[in-house]
Every structure is written in C-alpha cells, then in structure tokens.
C-alpha cells in the first residue's frame, strides 16, 4: 500500500475510537447532573408518578453499562431519544435543524477562505501598505467578539438602514433569494472572524515558502513571479492552510451556536441553547453529539486532504 493510502487508512481508523469516546462523554452528561436530573427536567410536574415514568423511559433505573449499551445501540439505529416536552423524536428535531447549521457554517468557511487566502497571498507577496492594512484586519478580526460584530452589522444594515432583515430564516429550497437575504449578515459575521485566522496562516506560510532557496532557484530558472507565487509557493503553503481551516471549523461550529441564537436561525446550535434553558437534557445530548461528530468528520476530511496535497509525501517512497 502506498504511504499516502496508509495515511488515509490510519486516519480513518483513528476517528472510530474518538467517536466512541465522544459518545461515552455525551452519555455521561445527563448522568453527571447534580441531584436528580429527572426531577430537574420535570420541574413543577415532578410528581412521584411522573418521575417514575420518565426515569423508566430514559432507562435511568438500569445499570450504567446496560444504559450505555442500549443507548449506543439506539444511536446506531438513529434513535436518539425523545424530546420530553413535545414528544418529537430527537433525530427528527436534529434532521430539520442540521441543514440550517450546515448552510451557515459551510457558507461562512467558504467566504472566509475566498477572502482570506488571496489577502494572505497578497500580504506576503507585496509588502508595504497592503501588508499593514492586512495586519490591521487580522488583529481586528481576532480581537473583536464575533457576536458583537454581528450586532454592529445588524445596527448598520438592518437598524439604521433597512437593507437587510435583522433576524429570521427562510429555507433554501423554499425561496433561495430570501434565504440568502437572511443569511448574508450571519455568514458575514462568522466569515470575518475566520478570515482573520486564515489570512494570518496564509501570510505566514507563504512568507516562509517564498524565502526558501527552492524559490530562489525557481526565480533563477526564469519562472515568472506569478507562477512561482500561485503554483509553487501556494502548493507548499496549502497544508498549514488546510490544517487551520480544519481547526477553525471547530471554532466556527462553536461560534454558530451564538450566531444562530443572535439571528434567530433555526439550527442545531440554537436548539442546544434553548434545550439547556429548558433543562431538556435528552435534546442537549443529541445536539452536542451531532456537532461533535460533525467536527470529527470535518477534521478527518481536512487531514486526508492535507495528506493528499502535501508535496512532501511522495508516492512509492517509504513514509
């Protein structure tokens, strides 16, 4: 098996124990609540009868191991339990919310990369005022809290000038134009913060590559500067850029939790926040697990992409 294929298989296998351990942690969540989680969930409806019924429904009366095995088994069948307030299956709740979160995060990350990489390349290749302006952008993007930026954008574009709606959502398939109108501000908010990190990493990686003897050699060979920058240097800078995209996607998922609440987007993040306020542990459990799995998957894909793109891993040579 080529070293590249070996890398891919190894990475795939690593994702499995991580996912299992994640499921254990999420499973333990509801059991770690101080006091009686069932009583807390039911609140004023916690009659001894109701407590007994809910406890049995949640399986909290069996041994810890039995509980985990039945929960994990249910997981594999797509059964994540039931929202005790609305009696909707959690899997249904999540499947309606997931597309919203996916749309938000993928649009944001795409925009961040589309802004960040060119800016980073520009800053590395052209020192001077462009570099200083980019520095300022990076510094501001990292320091400014993203939800505050979101509120400021709402102030400018929805409050003072009614150009865009301040909150709300229309499904993409129902009305793409309206959907985008509602998504512009949230996506812009998240993308700006992410772009700052991408610019920083891109600029650093490009600067490093452009300073190597390899590039000097290419220049001596007579290659055009444009070709050097965009073909050779960028390829060498790609692994760290991809890596930071993977890491930042986790930050993005976390940020989405706040941004969804801010812009009233019916996504998984907002579901989790509402469920916490309702002490709706089963829903929280499902939501947290879903986002965690999503993050693991994204990291897996970026690691694989890095393995593919990294020019240092040659086919046929020992890794």
């Amino acid at each position: 098996m080529s070293p590249r294929a070996r890398l891919i298989v190894r990475r795939l296998l690593l994702a499995i124990p991580v996912s299992v351990l994640m499921s254990v942690f999420v499973f333990l969540m509801i059991r770690l609540v101080p006091g009686d989680p069932v009583r807390t969930m039911l609140g004023f409806r916690a009659t001894p009868q109701n407590v007994r019924v809910v406890r049995k429904a949640l399986g909290l009366d069996r041994s810890l191991l039995a509980q985990y095995l039945s929960w994990a088994g249910g997981l594999l069948h797509g059964n994540l339990g039931e929202d005790f307030i609305s009696h909707t299956p959690v899997s249904t709740l999540l499947s309606t919310r997931l597309p919203v979160t996916l749309e938000l995060t993928s649009l944001s990350m795409t925009l961040a990369v589309l802004i960040g990489v060119p800016l980073g390349v520009l800053a590395a290749a052209r020192p001077g005022p462009v570099r200083t302006a980019t520095e300022g952008f990076v510094v501001a993007g990292i320091a400014i809290p993203d939800f505050w930026l979101g509120i400021m954008l709402v102030l400018v574009f929805a409050g003072l000038n009614q150009i865009l709606p301040p909150s709300g959502y229309v499904p993409l398939l129902q009305d793409p134009v309206q959907n985008l109108r509602y998504m512009i501000l949230p996506v812009l908010t998240l993308a700006t913060g992410e772009a700052a990190y991408i610019v920083r990493t891109t600029r650093g990686a490009m600067e490093e590559t452009l300073g190597t003897p390899y590039v000097q050699f290419l220049r001596a060979k007579g290659l055009s500067e444009r070709r050097i920058v965009f073909v050779h240097a960028l390829r060498n800078a790609a692994p760290p850029i991809l890596t930071v995209v993977g890491i930042q996607f986790g930050v993005l998922l976390g940020g989405a939790i706040v941004i969804e609440s801010l812009f009233a987007l019916p996504g998984v993040g907002r579901l989790i926040v509402t469920a916490i306020q309702q002490r709706n542990y089963v829903v929280v459990q499902g939501g947290v697990l879903l986002i965690a799995i999503l993050f693991i998957l994204v990291n897996l894909v970026t690691d694989l992409l890095v393995g593919v793109v990294d020019p240092r891993i040659e086919e046929g040579q020992p890794s």
């Binding site: 101080p34 400014i144 809290p145 939800f147 505050w148 939790i257």
Partner: protein, 270 residues
C-alpha cells in the same frame, strides 16, 4: 523584558485595564445600578461619557463593574487551567510511555470538541453561573496548556544537564521541579497570556446566551444582550462593552507576542 514597542503598548494598556477593574468601586463616576428616568437612552455627554441605557443608568460605570467580573473570570479560568495543565504536561513529557498515554488521551479527547460546545455542554450539566463558566473555560484550556508544556518538556528533558542530574542520583520529581519546569514553562506562560483574552470572549459569549453570569451579577456579555433591545435608539449601550472586550483581547495578544520573543523563541505556543 518586553522587547518591541507594540508589546510595551500592550502592557501599558493591560495595566490600565486591570487598574480600572480593581479600582472600579472607587473611580466609577456613578452608581452602576442607580436608575435615572430623566436620562433614559441618553446620548453620551460630559457627565456620562458612554451615555445611558434603557433605565437611565450610566453606561461607563456599568461597563467598569461588568469588566471586573469578566476580567476576573478570564484571568481566573486561565490561571486554574495553568495550575492543572502545567503539572499534567510536565509529567506526560518527562516520564513518557504509559504515563504520557494515560494523561494525554483524555486531554486529546477534550481537544476533539469545539471549545464553546464543550463549555456549553458543561454548563448544561452543572447549570449556569459565573463560577461554572470559569470552571468550564478552565476545562477547555487545560488540554491546550498541557500540550504546550509537554512539547517543551520533551525538548528540555533531553538536555545534558538533566541527564547529569539523573546521573547524580537526583529523584525524578526533584529534577522536574528544579531543572525541567523552570526551563519548560516559558511557552506555557506565553500561551496562557494569549488565552486570557480569548477566555474573556468566551465568557462574554456564554453570558450573552444567558449561560454565564446570572443577574444581578454584571458582565459584559449580559450588557451586550441587554443592549440589543435598544440598539437603534441607544447604540452606545452596545458599542462600548464590545470595544472593552476587543481592546482587552488585543492587549493580551500584544503582551503575549512580546513575551514570546523572550520565553518561547522556538514558537511552541500558538
């Protein structure tokens, strides 16, 4: 100690910010809770440089008192993470083998979750509150600091003076405390400094969602949530708390970068 000019500016700003937080009860121009119906949504003026909020309360004083709480959580959470994470990293890096695996596997597990998600999950279990938020943020940052210390410990432990101490028959714990820790701790200090700014951002986000500071405890995040209701009528109630957070993150980053030159030349800390 801090070489460059920007680092020095950052240090001065940080000193100023910490002073404001500590001295808030003394230097705040007004009582942050005193309601003034005549000043509802009042624009900034000389008496109220940051304006007034929906209940006529002075925004500047409120920001000062909220800043105390937010900064305390930011510094406290990272300090706690430091106290737990550094020993873990030292032990994992020095002993290696199964000790390393035993310590770093759960640590890596925690790193597999997005930070804010982990904090939110912990608060879901333990309930909202300032102290819980502090604990949750500390839990997020323990793995990062442990990793950084472990990486620098691996380098330091391979040095000849450590081998020499071992040959002299010194106990491992003594070697770690006397030789390894002082030399390995630099990058962790740099990392911790930078993390304090981000901790403030996370605390603000949690409080904004109602999961952090609970009334009547003030917090910049709570102010940001409240300011939304009067956003167009009194934007100053929303602008200034956010600016306070941004300046703090900036200051911590500048100081961290300055410390990096001295304490972390190899760039172990991110």
């Amino acid at each position: 100690m801090l070489g460059s000019r920007s680092a020095r500016i950052g240090a001065i700003v940080l000193l100023g910010l910490v002073s404001v937080a500590v001295l808030a009860p003394v230097i705040a121009p007004h009582n942050p809770d005193s309601i003034d119906p005549s000043r509802i949504l009042g624009a900034p003026n000389l008496a109220h440089p940051f304006g007034s909020d929906a209940l006529g309360r002075d925004v500047l004083s409120r920001v000062m008192f909220a800043y105390r709480v937010s900064l305390s959580v930011a510094i406290g959470s990272v300090a706690l993470a430091f106290l737990v994470g550094v020993p873990l990293g030292l032990l994992a890096g020095y002993y290696g083998g199964w000790v390393d695996t035993l310590i770093m596997r759960p640590v890596d597990m925690l790193l597999a979750l997005p930070a804010l998600l982990l904090a939110v999950a912990l608060i879901a279990i333990l309930g909202p509150g300032t102290l819980i938020a502090l604990l949750a943020i500390a839990v997020i940052y323990i793995p990062i600091l442990a990793r950084v210390v472990r990486a620098s410990t691996l380098v330091v432990a391979a040095q000849t003076y450590v081998e020499g101490a071992r040959a002299r028959g010194a106990s491992s714990l003594w070697i770690i405390a006397r030789h390894v820790m002082p030399n390995a701790i630099g990058p962790a200090i740099v990392q911790a400094t930078v993390l304090m700014g981000f901790a403030m951002q996370i605390e603000a986000a949690l409080s904004f969602l109602g999961l952090g500071a609970q009334p009547p405890t003030p917090s910049l995040g709570v102010m940001l949530a409240d300011g939304r209701d009067v956003l167009t009528q009194a934007p100053w109630a929303e602008v200034f708390p956010g600016v306070a957070i941004a300046i703090t993150v900036l200051a911590f980053n500048l100081v961290g970068d300055g410390l990096r030159r001295r304490l972390d030349p190899r760039g172990v800390a991110r």
